[in-house]
Each structure stands twice: as C-alpha cells, then as structure tokens.
C-alpha cells in the first residue's frame, strides 16, 4: 500500500493506481476529458492537472502513477490557473453552438467550463472548421466540436476490436475519422456516443428529439438478448426516446449493443392498441368484453386436450407464470411450451441450461471452446468480454465452426459432430487442452442444442467435464448460451412440456385452439385452428390470429427477466401501453376471471410472491433430485454437420423488426444504396 496526501488528507491506495484514482479515493473529483476507466490512458486533454509537491510544473494526474509520500493538491490557485489555461485552449476552436447541440445539458465540456471557463476569448483568429464525417446510420458527427480526446479511437481499437477510427493529420489540423467514411463494422459502435465528452459524436436517431432534463429516466433491463444488460429508459410522455447503459460490472460493464440502444423506436411502430377480431379474413376492432366472451365460449366448447399455448422470446416471468397457472388451474391441461424449436433441454439440474461460468468468469478463463454459437451476434456484450479476456490473458479460443470475424483470433474446426465425439471421448488433441486448462469454458449455442444427437453429445460433454473435475464448486465449465431474454426464466418456471412434442402436434394440426403470448417464431401453416394472439406488435403471430389481444412491451410493464447466467433482474415500467392495450399478466388474469368468475391472483404482488414461492420450491426440489441420470441408450449418435442457424442480427425479435433504425443499420451493412423509389 502506498501512503500519500491529497489536499492534506492522508490516504492509502494500492500500488499501480494513478494519482487521479488516488484523488477519487480521497473524495476529490478531478475534471477530465480523455481519461476513462475502461480504456487505456492517453493523457492528452490535460484537464486533470494537479499540483504535486516538489514538481515545478503541474502534472497530468491520469497518467501519473501514484507513489509513496506524494503530496497532491487540487484546490490551489496554481491548479485552477493551469486548468483555466487548458480550458481556454480547448475552447479556442470549439464552436459556441450549445443551443443547437444535442449534447447540451449532459456535456462534460459545458459542465466543466462552468468551473474553469473564462467568459471571453482571447482567440482572435479564425476558428478551425472540420467537414462532417459519415459514420453510418447511428452516429451523427459534428467534428468541429471535437476536442481530440481520442476516447472513440481507443474504444474502437480496444473494446470493439474494429480498429477503424483514427486521428489523421496530427497537429493543428488533427481530425478523427473512419478511413472509408462508413459505419463502424461493430455491434457496439454507438457506445462512442456515450463516450464522447462533447457533442462531436451524437446519436443520429435521437437527433433534436429532446433535452436530457425533459426526459423521465427509468432504470430497467434489456430484452434484446439473454445477457440482461442494465439500461436506462428515457421517456418523453409515452414515447421511449432513447436507451442508455447503466454500469453493472457483472453483466454489461458500461456498454450496450446497438440493437439494445436503437431498437427502441420499434416500440412506436406496428403497435397493437386495441383488441381485434377476424371476420371473413379481415380484422375488425372490438372491445375487451367482446373478445373475452368469444374466448370464453371457445375454451368452454373445446375439449381441453385440443388447447395449447406458447409463450415468446420477450415475455417476462410474471406473464409466463400466470400463463402456466392459467393452463394448470383454469384449463387444467399442461399443453404449454416456451421453446420455438425442438432444442434439447434437460431440466433435471439448473446447470444444464445456464451460463455457469458467469460473464465475469470469462475474464479468468484460459480456454474457450465455442460449439454451435456465434457470440458476436447472439450475445454481443459477452463477445466483448471474450475479447477482453483474450487481450488481458491471451485466452485461447477455439470454435467448432468457422464464424468469420469475431474481433479476436480463434482456431476453427470442421464443424462435424464426429469431431465433437472424438474430443469428448478424449481422443483428440483438444481433449488434452481442455483437461489441462485450469478454467476452461465450453459454450454451447442454440444451434448445437437443435442437433439430432444433441442429447447424446451433451451428456458426453458433461461426463467428460465431470471426469476431469471441470464441474466443481469453484468452476463450472458447462455453459449454455441462450439467445432470448425469456428463455432461462421460462425454463426456471418449467414452462415446458416434457411428455409431448407440441410443435410437432401443432404442425400436424392436432389442436383446435392455439394461444400465443408474444410468440412470433413458430413456423406452421394455419388450417382450422382458432388462434388467439396476445402481444405488443403486429407481426407474424398477429397475422395468423383470429383474435388479437393487445399487450405491452418490456418498457411498459414491470417484469422479471432471468439472464443467461441465472441472475433474476427486474425491468421497471417506464411508459404505459398504447391505446386500450393492457399489461400482459392482467389480460390473462381477466380471461381467467371471465371464465370462472374468480381471478387467478388478486393483484401483481400476489402474483409475484406466488411466483417466487414456486421458484424457491423448484430450487429445493432440484437440489434433492440431483444425480438422476436419464436413460443412457435412449438415443444414438448420428454423424452430422453442425450449422450455425443465422438469426438476422438486426431483426431478431418483434421490436427490432418494427424499428426503422434497425432497417437502416441492416442496409448500411449490406452497402445498400437508397434510391428513394423503394417506397
């Protein structure tokens, strides 16, 4: 530990910290532009100057390592004069366009110039003007405002792994640019908007939409992937204006993916805002009472075996739970399912469907083996962690398939299940790598679980890991990478039919009533089924429906989501559902009330406590029922090629599909030239 003084306060800090970090520990805030906790140190803005005893000149605290016996002063006239000088230079070329700048109100330069700015300028020369750069559909540039902190350059190189932004023409005419003047080829690109301390890089879809002080800010959870990134939803009246990350070191650190950030405009389009009934192939508006009446008579006149229900990829746990209760208690049948394909799932232990090594664990891992997953698109934030791990400890990364650019180097194999069998029989050179690694990670994707012999290989993998003591109390190498926000929560709630293959029955037209809650991904031909669709957006599911019940999106209702690690987090209500639509759990509760004259739950609190009781009960049960192995020779190995099922990154769920920004992103990736005639 180092002992030093900051403004005459004695503090002790660990070795390796900088003076700036030491000052923060002492509770002294240091102004800065270029320094950022998550990026490398550049030391080029000079705003963090402090006075150090025995140093004739002020020192840049962000780049100065703390040392024993230092005496730092941050509140002297000397320091203030130095910082005022720096600020004057920064403002020399910075335009005074705060009233028309989107950063206004949350601008570091604006805030700090309140303390260190001088009210007039001594700069009589012409101000520097820099042409705008094209950085794609997400980032609006106004490079005249740039103060050259190079945070964006460092972010692109270090975190995003796409070294495409750089500073050209260093010196008086320095400019930040992407070399081809195109969008960054990264799914994390829009984080540079948050990083930019001034208004040089601002959000293009949010341009001139609102001022930060007009917005209502709600902390919530993202549902675009199964990571469960912590987000802040900014709303103006009903509209969700933007989504920003909140720091959660265990999950998303400080970043969110572009889809998380910009799919929010999909919440405004294609919304279902009133109940609909289909008459002669045409939807007509109806009242809630009418649709409830029809649903009641349909349910009552159909034998219960002919009813089935599916929940979708964005459904929160309360809705899933009440849906299950509705089937169990009101309809008295267990024809419900949360999967949209025939993926293998073993619910006997919770570790069989979780990302057990945890997202933080990626940084400790020394070997990562990807099987049937492309983390760059399936879990962007997780991929950034793998890259971080690669940069910090040169983690070896192997993938069964060739996946293209993952932003880090990896070794790819031939994609055959035969190879997998050899590896986990211990007959392949990778087998030794895994057993010799101290903290290996095997990451299984949904494409793997959809294989015909996934059950066989899964058990093989698990046995191999158990034999080599890679699944123990300290470290669990088995990781399942779920793609959808609702998946793990639904598995925890056992919203799975283990006896019947409902999807096959559905395709064979064995059901008369199909109840879909936010489920748009079922590929089946409609024949004579009566389909009830409950959801927020008019998409594939609503097209098929005979009755549409307008529900709410994730920003319009409180709801729990369990992320792929098994962490349960609550998304809070930021806005309210449009028109006559209602919160999802309420609709199901009301149908139940309509049918039996009794609500399933009196209120949301009762539903929540009942759900948590159920979850706790399941936890106890699974700890008792451990080590029950399923029948060994139930299925045989089949040699096949593992193909990564490519879900279109920008259109992976209903909200993203309704988002105009996501369409633009997709077009810019395809280098699609807009002609103006495509309608």
């Amino acid at each position: 530990m180092l002992k030093l003084k900051v403004n005459n306060i004695d503090i002790e800090v660990e070795e390796g910290l900088t003076v700036l970090q030491a000052c923060e520990k002492a509770g002294v805030e240091i102004p800065r532009f270029c320094y950022h906790e998550k990026l490398s140190i550049a030391g080029n803005c000079r705003m963090c100057l402090v006075e150090m005893e025995k140093s004739p000149k002020p020192v840049a605290s962000c780049a100065m390592p703390a040392a024993d016996g230092m005496n730092i002063k941050t509140n002297t006239v000397f320091v203030e004069k130095a910082r005022k000088g720096v600020m004057e230079f920064l403002l020399a070329n910075h335009p005074l366009d705060c009233p028309v700048c989107d950063q206004g109100g949350e601008c570091d330069l604006q805030d700090q110039s309140m303390f260190y700015g001088v009210d007039k300028s001594r700069f009589k020369e012409n101000k520097r003007a820099v042409p705008e750069k094209n950085m794609g559909p997400l980032i609006k540039t106004q490079m005249t405002r740039c103060i050259h902190c190079t945070r964006c350059v460092r972010f692109a190189t270090e975190v995003a792994g796409v070294p495409e932004i750089g500073a050209i023409g260093r010196g008086e005419d320095m400019q930040i640019t992407t070399y081809l003047e195109q969008s960054m080829q990264s799914e994390l690109s829009a984080n540079v908007v948050d990083l930019c301390p001034v208004g040089a890089l601002t959000s293009k879809p949010y341009v001139f939409e609102a001022r930060p002080w007009e917005l209502k800010k709600t902390e919530s959870i993202d549902v675009m992937d199964a990571i469960g990134s912590n987000i802040r939803v900014d709303t103006y009246d009903w509209e969700v204006k933007r989504i920003l990350p909140i720091i959660n070191e265990d999950i998303n650190e400080e970043w969110i993916s572009d889809k998380t950030r910009y799919a929010c405009d999909g919440l405004l389009h294609q919304r279902l805002d009133t109940p609909f009934i289909k008459y002669n192939g045409k939807f007509e508006k109806a009242s809630w009472n009418e649709v409830y009446k029809i649903i009641k008579s349909k349910f009552e006149n159909t034998s219960k075996e002919k009813i089935c229900g599916f929940v979708g990829d964005l459904t929160n746990m309360e809705t899933s739970y009440i849906f299950k209760e509705f089937f169990d208690r009101t309809l008295d049948v267990d024809n419900y399912e949360s999967r949209s394909d025939n993926r293998y799932l073993n619910l006997s232990e919770r570790e069989n469907y979780l990302f057990n090594s945890s997202i933080n664990g990626i940084e400790d891992s020394d070997l990562i083996f990807l099987i049937g997953t492309n983390p760059r698109y399936e879990a962007t934030i997780l991929n950034a962690r793998i890259r971080k791990s690669y940069l910090n400890n040169e983690t070896k990364i192997i993938s069964l398939n060739e996946l293209g650019d993952l932003t880090y180097p990896y070794e790819s194999l031939d994609g055959q299940t035969q190879t997998l069998k050899e590896i986990f029989d211990g007959k392949h050179k990778i087998s030794n790598l895994i057993s010799n690694a101290t903290k290996p990670m095997i990451i299984l994707g949904e494409s793997f679980l959809n294989l015909n012999s996934s059950k066989y290989i899964f058990r093989k993998i698990k046995n191999f890991l158990l034999e080599n003591n890679k699944i123990n109390n300290d470290w669990n190498s088995l990781n399942i990478l779920s793609c959808d926000a609702a998946s793990v929560g639904n598995y925890d709630l056992k919203l799975i039919n283990r006896d019947k293959n409902l999807l096959k029955d559905l395709k064979d037209h064995k059901f008369e009533i199909v109840y879909l809650v936010g489920q748009d991904n079922l590929n089946f031909e409609k024949k004579d089924e009566f389909i009830i669709y409950q959801g927020s957006h008019g998409d594939k599911g609503a097209e098929l429906a005979d009755i549409i019940l307008p529900g709410s999106a994730y920003t319009e209702q409180d709801g729990y989501f369990t992320n792929l690690e098994g962490k349960i987090q609550k998304a809070y209500k930021a806005s309210y559902p449009p028109g006559e639509s209602k919160e999802d759990w309420l609709i199901i509760n009301e149908i139940a009330e309509f049918m039996n004259n009794r609500k399933l739950f009196n209120d949301k609190d009762e539903l929540e406590s009942s759900m948590f009781n159920y979850l706790n009960l399941q936890k106890e049960k699974s700890s008792v029922s451990k080590n029950i192995e399923e029948n060994e020779d139930a299925d045989q190995f089949k040699s096949e090629t593992l193909k990564i099922k490519i879900k279109d990154y920008y259109f992976s769920n209903v909200i993203a599909r309704s988002s105009k920004t996501m369409i633009e992103c997709n077009n810019s990736k395809l280098n699609f030239k807009s002609t103006g005639t495509e309608g």
Binding site: T157, G166, I168, G169, R170, G171, D173
Partner: protein, 202 residues
Amino acid sequence: MSLRRPAKDQPENFEFNSSSLEAANTIVSKYPKGKQQSAVMALLYIAQRQNNNWIPLAAMKYIAKFLDMPYIKVYEVATFYTMYNLSPVGKYFIQVCTTTPCMIRGANHLVEACKEKISENECELSNDKSCSWMEVECLGACVNAPMMQINDDYYEDLDKDKTLKILEKILKGETPKPGSYRGRVNNEPENNRKTLMDYKNA
C-alpha cells in the same frame, strides 16, 4: 501548413518490386518478432521511393497488410510526417529552403526561378509532370545558404542563374551535380581556412 490530404486520382494497386521487397524484409528483420509494426515508417519511405516520390493509398493498404496492422494506423502515420508525400510530386521533387539564414542569403530568388521554370504555385506539377517544387523549413545546411534539395541531394550556394541552369537540366531529364555551386568542398570556408591553421589535420 496546408492540409495534407491524399490525392484524388489514386492507382488501384500497389506492390513492392523485388528490390523494395528485399529492403523491406531487411528492415522488418531488425525488429523482434511480433513487433514488426515498428517498421512502418521505413516501409512507407521505401514505398515512396519506389513510386516516384509519393505514397498512394493502395501502398498504405499494402503496407498495413505486410506488417499485419490496422490500415488506419498506417494512414495516421502517413498523414502526420511531412516527409511523406500523399499526392504526386513528380520524379524530381524540389524543396527550397526559405528559413531565416537562407532567406537572408536570397532564397526568394530561388523561389522565383522555380516559379519561372516549373510552375506558378508550389506543390503543382510542371507541364511535363516530371517535377514540382515547394518551400520548406530549414534543411540544416545553413552554412551553404541558400540551398535546395532535389530528391536526395543538396544543391548549395545558389543564386537565381545557377538555379535556372539546374532546373533546365532537370527538365531535360539529366541529373545535375550535387553540392556547392561556388566550388566549395562540403562546407569548408571559401578561399581556404582561416582558423586552426596550426593543426595539420584539423
């Protein structure tokens, strides 16, 4: 200083020829394995010599690939150093020093000569596209002022007539003799030395 921007007309491809490749490999081999990126400046210069004194974007891409580093990093380096020319300057690139010592000794006459013979403005190719000229800061030969540099050679102790003669030769495609044009050896004093007379080998 004017903005340094790459030329509008760019060749499609660039590749090292055999002698450049050999020189490049020699330089890369001087650096430890995995640190080959340190050779970027030397390689840019090799590319510039090979390609008539300027570096096209294709060459930067080629070097980025050659050294396994991001293209933007090569671009950053090339846009910073004034020694790298980003647009064509002709086979003969004339740099006239106009910093104080040369200026006092009449560098403006050299500039006049260039304007007459080559082109009205600096950084502009001559009619036959074989050469261009520009004013530069001190080239470190103040003792032989005024002077100019043509490609790798210094031409010193000039005046307007001598400059015109040199430029005429260049425009004909000949290479004039470098060095002092008042008959000095290197930067020795004119009319023999006047100091340190006692020392034989001084």
